[in-house]
Amino acid sequence: MTPNATIQWFATGRRIFRGRWLATLGLAWLVLVVLAAVFAPLIVPFDPLEIDPVARLTEPGAAHFFGTDHFGRDTFSRSIYGARMAIVIGLGSVLVALLVGGLTGMISAYFTRLGAFLMRVVDVLMAFPALLLALVLMTLLERSVMNTVLVIGIVYATTTARILFGMTLKLKNEVFIDAAVCSGAGHASILFRHILPNLISPLLVQASFIFAFAQLQAAALDFLGLGLPPEVPSWGNMLSESRIYVTRAPWLLLFPGALIILSVFSMNLVGDALRDSIDPRFKNDIKGV
């Protein structure tokens, strides 16, 4: 069973990425980022928080691959730990967005009376641009990893709710839902056993995009000094600190900036590939879904 499942996963992966060399490159980059994040303590040559006043603003070289910042902290080490923060922020935001947004959307579509109210709240929240909403919420809260994750998650919960609302609305009128009712299934069973498994593919696609957008939002919040606490080594914070020294030490801007761009671009490419693979117009093996 297990080797079979592995083979199936592999086959699905091949189907999604075959002929999409850009998306495959993106996936490879993401794997690299994940590996860097997981094995950060083994990779880094310096402690990312260690201050070395003698080596302030050293140019990139043999000792410091990406140079050092104004405290003499090693930019390469901070970048590697930044990958950790990127993944924590990404996964956290995805979790919050899918949980809050997904539940709101599903419940709103299923219980129409409650939904009429809940979806108006979602509409109001969606009227604000994502960054503006995140800014307002962050100014009300303390700067911390947890709060950043929550705020970004809530911002993207609105779009998730919208998407799942529509799909649940369609699914709940399927004949197999009527059949489940006739079998005696209750509301919870219908929502989570019959509807939710049919939403996995769109949820996966949605997750990949939220993951990418969360990076941009987090970087923007960090840059504006509203996101993670300043001492935390995140790509956004590094970018924010670099701007004072941009003429003397452009590598401080270059490396975290490139990392953000590459990662977000990669995630979007992978997300596109995922979306195309579940879009029936691109699908050549429609199987009763």
Binding site: V175, F176, D178, A179, C182, G184, A185, R193, H194
Partner: protein, 333 residues
């Protein structure tokens, strides 16, 4: 006081299911009432198969959906085993779901594509507490799959691995696994290939005979109804216009609408005069006054245009809701 022996399993009286059609803008707009089912009454004895026939949109499917509580009844009563069930709360009705089951029309839509056959079939067993152990549930699923002519080994597969006929067998297994007393078959074979129809139809008939289930067989296909039913009710625009034992209905139909239906069965025999085209039924949202059939009726008179006919007992279990029911038969003889 009726005894158990003569009491019908299902007694439906004046059943009404109306839908509100909303049209127009965000603010208000007009509301229209669609009387999908408008005063349907019938009895269904234990072990009997009653066919409900009629054109598309006559409300025959809505009768089935209302009796399984998939739609809310607007009025009327339905006694199941002596107990009124339309007024029960959803929670109080749930135990009855085991006894009243439904076979759906489209076997491609009625199975959840994400669940294995075992998961689909285990659900009602678990909900109604028919088996408690994992082995017990599996044994019961295996038994039921054999009963409907499928290999028990298939239970680990997903619906997309089956053909339409096989899927409908799975749908029937889902019904049979809880050992119901009443099965409502809503166009159970209409979506299948003609070659498969007969197989599935015979399976349903055999299972019905073996276990003595009562059945409401909803169909637009008179040939299928003739094959499986004991008694037939003909519906037109939300009402039953004629009820009769199968043999009587096909040999001596009383209601002009029944005669129109019978005349429109396609026949291969040459030399037959083709059925007269009598147009489409009126919309259930705006039924004509009086007898709803009068605009298409060849024998309509003034009374048909003003008064709604009540069912007339013609003897031998035949009832016809036609002002001319008794008389014109005499003329014909």
């Amino acid at each position: 006081m009726t005894t158990d022996a003569e009491r019908p399993l299902l007694r439906v009286r004046d059943l009404k299911t109306h839908f509100t059609l909303k049209s127009g803008s965000l603010f208000g707009g007009s509301k229209k009432l669609l009387k999908a089912v408008d005063g349907v009454s019938f009895d269904l004895a234990a072990g009997e198969v009653l066919g409900i026939v009629g054109e598309s949109g006559c409300g025959k499917s809505t009768v089935g959906r209302t009796l399984t509580r998939l739609e809310d009844a607007t009025g009327g009563t339905a006694e199941f085993d002596g107990r009124e069930m339309l007024s029960l709360s959803k929670a109080a009705f749930r135990p009855l779901r085991r006894e009243i089951q439904m076979i759906f029309q489209d076997p491609f839509a009625s199975l959840n594509p994400r669940l294995t056959i075992e998961q689909t079939l285990a659900e009602p067993v678990r909900i109604h507490g028919l088996e408690t152990t994992r082995e017990g549930i599996r044994a019961r699923i295996a038994r039921t799959l054999t009963q409907v002519g499928l290999d028990p080994k298939v239970m680990s597969r997903h619906p997309h691995e089956f053909s339409g006929g096989q899927r409908q067998r799975i749908g029937i297994a889902r019904v049979m696994i809880v050992e119901p007393k009443l099965v409502i078959a809503d166009e159970a074979v209409s979506a299948l290939d003609v070659s498969i129809q007969a197989q599935v139809l015979n399976l349903i008939k055999d299972l019905q005979k073996e276990s003595g289930i009562s059945m409401l067989f909803i169909s637009h296909d008179l040939g299928v109804v003739r094959h499986i039913c004991d008694r037939v009710a003909v519906m037109y625009l939300g009402r039953i216009v004629e009820t009769a034992p199968k043999a009587t209905l096909f040999s001596a139909p009383s209601h002009p609408y029944t005669r129109l239906l019978l005349a429109s069965i396609p026949r291969i025999r040459p030399g037959r005069i083709p059925a007269e085209d009598r147009g489409e039924p009126a919309s259930a949202a705006a039924p004509p006054p009086g007898c709803p059939f009068h605009p298409r009726c060849p024998i309509a008179t003034d009374i048909c245009r003003s008064e709604r006919p009540q069912p007339v007992d013609l003897g031998n279990g035949q009832f016809s809701a036609c002002h001319h029911a008794g008389k014109q038969q005499g003329e014909a003889a």
